[in-house]
Every structure is written in C-alpha cells, then in structure tokens.
C-alpha cells in the first residue's frame, strides 16, 4: 500500500498545516450567515472524525468493522447523560465518554478479533444492533424512542479575555475542527511510526505477521480501542449540535454510511476518509433539490466506486496525476 512518506511533496509539513488552518478559519465566512450551511460544515467535521477512526480499523488494520455507529452512539448518550443526570461538566463528560467508547471498543475487539473477515463483519454489526436496541429499550436511562430534548451546547469559554459562546455555530465549528485536526495529527503520527508498520503488517497477512512475532490480537484491540475512542469523542459533540438525541440516529445503517465514506474516499490513506466524508456529506445536501433520487444516487455512487475504483477518490487522483506527468512511472 502506498507509503506516503516516500512521495512527500516539496512543501514542508508546517506549510500544509498553515494552509489547513487558514482554510478552516476562512470557510465559515465563505458560507455567509447561512445557519444551514454552518450545520452542514459541523456535520462534515464530525463525519471526518468518524471516517478517520473507522479507517484506522478498516483501512490500516484490515478489520471489516460494520458497527462504528455504536461507538458514536455511546459517545453521544454518555456525554448527555453524564451532564444531565450526574451533573458533570461538558469537558469532563467528553473525556469520560470518549474513554467509555474506547473501553467498549477494546471489549468488542477482545472477543471479536479471533474472528475473521465475514464473521467479524457480522459480529460488529450485531454489536451495533445490540447497542441501538439498548438505547431504545433502556427507557429509564435514555428515554428510549422519546428522545432527549433541549440539549445545551458546551459551556462558554473565556480565551484571551474574550467570552466564546458555543451556541454560535461558527464557534462550534472551530471547536470541532480543532479536535479533528488534532485527531488527524495524532493518527498520522501513529501511522508513520513503527506502530503503523505493525498495523499494516496485520492487515496484509496476519499469519505472516504472527510468525514475525507480532501479537496480532493486541494490535487489533489497540486499533479498535483508539478508533472507538475517537468515534466517542465525535459523539460527544453531536447532541449539542443537533439539540435533540434519539436512538434512531445510531441505527446500523449509519455504519454503512461511514463505511462508504472510507471506501469512496480511499481507504488506507490518511486523506481518503477526509475526502470521502466531505463528498458523501455534501452530496446528499447538494442533491437534496433533486428530491427522492438522492439516496438512490448515493447507492449507485458507492457501488460504482467499489467496483471500478476501489481505492476511492484518492486512487482516482493518483491515476489522473500519473497520466498527466508522463515521465513518472505509474505509482501503486
């Protein structure tokens, strides 16, 4: 699989981060005062975090995980309930629920990782179904299908003497973007380190990896734990963003959406899930005016991409580039 380190652009990394930060700072202004587009932006960032974390498990460690919606749901509900019922402060609740999701991820991995391929897929799906059912049926805790309403945004913070309120969606966007960038940097560093090599080895050929002395079970658990924790982190921002929390937002079918984002963007690359999340969050919104056909187009897109361009959009770009720069021999 592509080793991005070997194809580094001539721009040093810090320039990239500067550009990204600049883009993030500027984008909310580009959409003007539109509250609708601001919400979409926040959705995009949350989906980016979900796609990146799923990619860690699926793209880099090769585990077909169809239950990511479960971790997202744990993050969302745990945060809300800790704040509303236990009186925790938002930031502590966020950390706690992220860790809770991580622990659940570890547990799931602990017992699911001796399964492979399709078994793991079904087991992870079963996990997502069970979690959804728990959210639906544990009325006393979660209010079940009635949902939880009127959820407040994270409490205002004072930075450099200025009070920043998070019911302002622009500020909320900046907040989640910062976390998303941190997550990206964190994952990128892990994957460039020997840990990344190990995970890739597990993905490529578990048997050989084991013969090299790699404790494959441990590393799979690691992936699931980290991936779940990140999903939980994204989940903690979700309720205050939407204002209401219902179990059906975390049904199994959402897992397929995140899967699609990873695949369509390009799994096993860092930028792939980011692109996939952006494209697949925007596509239904842009197509909304077409009305009923949008979900259909969504399905068509996923099928076509996986059939003809399995490396996703990233693969598409790479082949475009290798066609343009005719002197370079084909990459990958």
């Amino acid at each position: 699989m592509s080793n991005q380190a070997s194809q580094k652009s001539s721009f040093p990394r810090w320039v990239w981060f500067a550009l990204v930060f600049a883009a993030i700072a500027v984008i909310p202004m580009l959409v003007g005062g539109s509250a609708y587009w601001k919400s979409i932006l926040i959705s995009i960032v949350l989906n980016i975090m979900l796609a990146m974390s799923l990619n860690l498990i699926l793209g880099y460690t090769g585990q077909l995980h169809l239950g990511h919606s479960g971790f997202f749901g744990v993050g969302a509900y745990a945060t809300t309930l800790l704040i509303q019922k236990a009186g925790f402060n938002f930031w502590i609740a966020m950390v706690a629920s992220s860790m809770m999701a991580g622990v659940i991820g570890i547990l799931l991995a602990f017992f699911a990782t001796r399964l492979k391929g399709h078994y793991l897929a079904i087991a992870s799906m079963a996990f997502a179904v069970i979690l959804h059912q728990i959210l639906l049926n544990w009325d006393s805790m979660t209010s079940g299908p009635l949902g939880i309403y009127g959820i407040a945004p994270p409490p205002a913070m004072t930075i450099f003497g200025k009070l920043i309120k998070f019911n302002d969606q622009v500020n909320l966007f900046y907040l989640v973007s910062i976390f998303a960038v941190l997550v990206y940097i964190f994952l990128d560093n892990i994957l460039r380190s020997p840990i990344g090599e190990t995970l890739r080895a597990v993905r490529e050929d578990e048997v050989s990896a084991a013969s090299l002395g790699i404790n494959t079970k441990l590393w799979k658990i690691f992936s699931f734990g980290v991936g779940a924790a990140i999903a939980g982190l994204a989940g903690s921002f979700y309720p205050s963003f939407v204002g209401t929390l219902v179990p059906d937002s975390f049904a199994v079918v959402e897992s397929f959406t995140y899967l699609a984002m990873v695949i369509v963007g390009g799994m096993g690359t860092m930028i792939g899930p980011v692109i996939g999340a952006i494209v697949l969050t925007l596509l239904p919104e842009v197509l909304r005016d077409i009305g009923d056909a949008r979900l259909l187009v969504y399905g068509i897109t996923l099928t076509l991409v996986i059939l003809f361009m399995p490396g996703g959009i990233v693969q598409g770009f790479k082949s475009l580039i290798s066609k343009k720069t005719s002197t370079t021999s084909s990459s990958n």
């Binding site: 391929g117 399709h118 897929a121 079904i122 087991a123 069970i130 397929f256 695949i263 009923d292 969504y298």
Partner: protein
C-alpha cells in the same frame, strides 16, 4: 386465563411458522457463503422484490397466488444472476473478500431506494386467499401459515436432496469444502457458482412471495427479515445447511416466546445477544461440519 399448555403449543406453532420463513431466507445466504465465501447484503432486497413480483402477478395479471410463488422464485433467480454477473464474477479472482461485500451493500441501498421511487412508500395491501383461520380447540393457525410450512419444508427437502444426491449438488459441496482441490478436479467453478447464487436468490424470492401477505409490504420489507437471517446463519454455522435450519426454527421460537413473556421490543436484543454468545463460545456454529480455515 388460558391454560398454559395451549399457550405453549400456540406460540410454538407461531414460532415454527416464522422460523420456516427465516430458514428459507437464511438458507440462501448460507449456500452463497458456503460455496462462494461471500455475503450478499442485497439478499434482503431480493426477498422484497420477490414479494412485489408475486403481488403484481396476482393483482395485474390476475394470476393465482400459488403460481405467483413460482413467479417470485424465477424473479429471485434472475436477480441473483444479474448480481453475480455484475459484482461477484468480475471481482472473484482478485481474492479480495471485502470488496464484493461492500458492493452488495451499495447494491442494496440502490435496490431499496430504486424500489422506493418506483413503488412508493405507501404499504401495499397484499391479501392472500388463504387468510382464514383453522381452529383446533384453543389452537389456531391460518391456511397461509400452513402453506408456508408446507412450501418451506418442500423447498428445504428439495434443496437437501439436490445437495446430497445429484452430481451438481455434490460438486457444490466439494467446492464449499475445498475450493482448490475441487478446481483441480475439473469442475466448472464459474458455472456452479452462478448456479448457487441463482438458486439461493430464487429461494429468497420465493420466501418473499410467502412473506408478502404477512409483512407490511413496502420497499423496506425484506430488510426487517434479513438482519435476523444473518444472525441465523452464524448461529447455525456459516455454510452449514442443517445448522441453518435448526437455528432458523430456534430463532422463530425465540421470537414467539420473547413476545409472550418479555415484549417484542427486546427480540432483537435476545437474538443478537445469542449470536454474540455463540460467537464467543462456539464460533463455528451449532453444528460444525465445514472445515473452517477462518477461525
């Protein structure tokens, strides 16, 4: 209060009827997995489309209900052929087991929403001529459920005989047990694999025709059944026919009794909880016959 004995018998009957339907859907999945090592997520939609095919045959062409089951069977087969042609066959040799799965997820979304556009969201009223109830003492069952049990048993028996006694059937079992050796024996794998998925999808279509009058008929009808079918396939043992049959009936019974004593809301919890327990304790399923390289 109704006496407990009748109650238990009644719920058992209810459970077995639904179980038969689940088995018909799950057998297709298990067959596909056994021979091709693939999962077809669009299996659910074959069930739905089978139901619609049967419905329109009866409503528009005025055909008989029993014949419409055959129509649905054929419709399912055709769908299976198409999906093999477009997804499974082209991707088979590349050895990637994830891609076809994901492609079938895409196909499933496509079929569901295409059906939604085409048929609309309003549930179709599918009345079967066999709706009357037969009463024996305190026990009742409808003619439709009797039909379900009969057709399902016949289909299962036919499939079983096919697999055990015909040459093609034995070839399929050979492929499912050891693909490489089977290849060496000069069996035309591509054809047989196509046949497998056609048969499996045809069974799904037929199940749809029988489910049509029972389910609320919308483009999402099949989805409600197939998630449980996946659970059944694993509980029974992937690729294992006897296991699937037992597991299917078991799940049907679980549903009926859970509804009686706990409430239908927790059915999914119970079934999937059982699934996870099975995976933990005995991942090869209730009856482990197939040689599992996976686990």
């Amino acid at each position: 209060m109704v006496d407990i004995a009748s109650l238990i018998i009644q719920q058992s009957i209810n459970g077995i009827v639904m179980g038969c339907l689940y088995v018909m859907v799950a057998l297709g999945l298990t067959l596909i997995y056994g021979v091709m090592n693939q999962i077809n997520f669009a299996h659910a939609d074959f069930v739905t489309l089978g139901a619609f095919a049967s419905y329109f045959f009866v409503k528009w062409m005025g055909g008989g209900y029993l014949i419409s089951i055959l129509v649905a069977f054929l419709a399912g087969g055709v769908l299976g052929y198409i999906i093999n042609l477009t997804i499974f066959a082209p991707l088979r040799d590349r050895g990637d087991e994830l891609r076809p799965l994901i492609a079938t997820i895409g196909a499933s979304i496509l079929l569901e929403n295409g059906s939604l556009l085409f048929f609309g969201p309003v549930p179709y009223q599918y009345d079967t001529p066999y709706a009357d109830a037969i009463r024996i003492g305190k026990i009742f069952f409808t003619e439709q459920s009797l039909l379900v049990v009969l057709v399902a048993s016949a289909a299962i028996a036919a499939l079983y005989a096919f697999m055990k006694f015909t040459f093609t059937g034995k070839a399929l079992r050979a492929i499912s047990q050891d693909r490489e050796t089977a290849g060496l024996m000069g069996i035309n794998q591509a054809f047989l694999i196509m046949l497998t998925i056609v048969i499996a999808s045809a069974m799904a279509g037929m199940a749809g025709a029988m489910l049509g009058p029972i389910l609320v008929l919308t483009p999402f009808a099949g989805a409600s059944v197939v998630v449980k079918a996946f659970a059944i396939v694993i509980i029974g043992g992937f690729g294992n026919m006897e296991g699937t049959i037992i597991a299917g009936l078991l799940v049907g019974l679980i549903e009926a009794f859970t509804t009686q004593y706990l409430g239908s809301g927790v059915i999914d919890l119970v079934v999937f909880g059982l699934l996870l327990v099975m995976l933990l304790v005995r991942p090869t399923g209730l009856i482990a016959e197939k040689k599992e390289e996976n686990v």
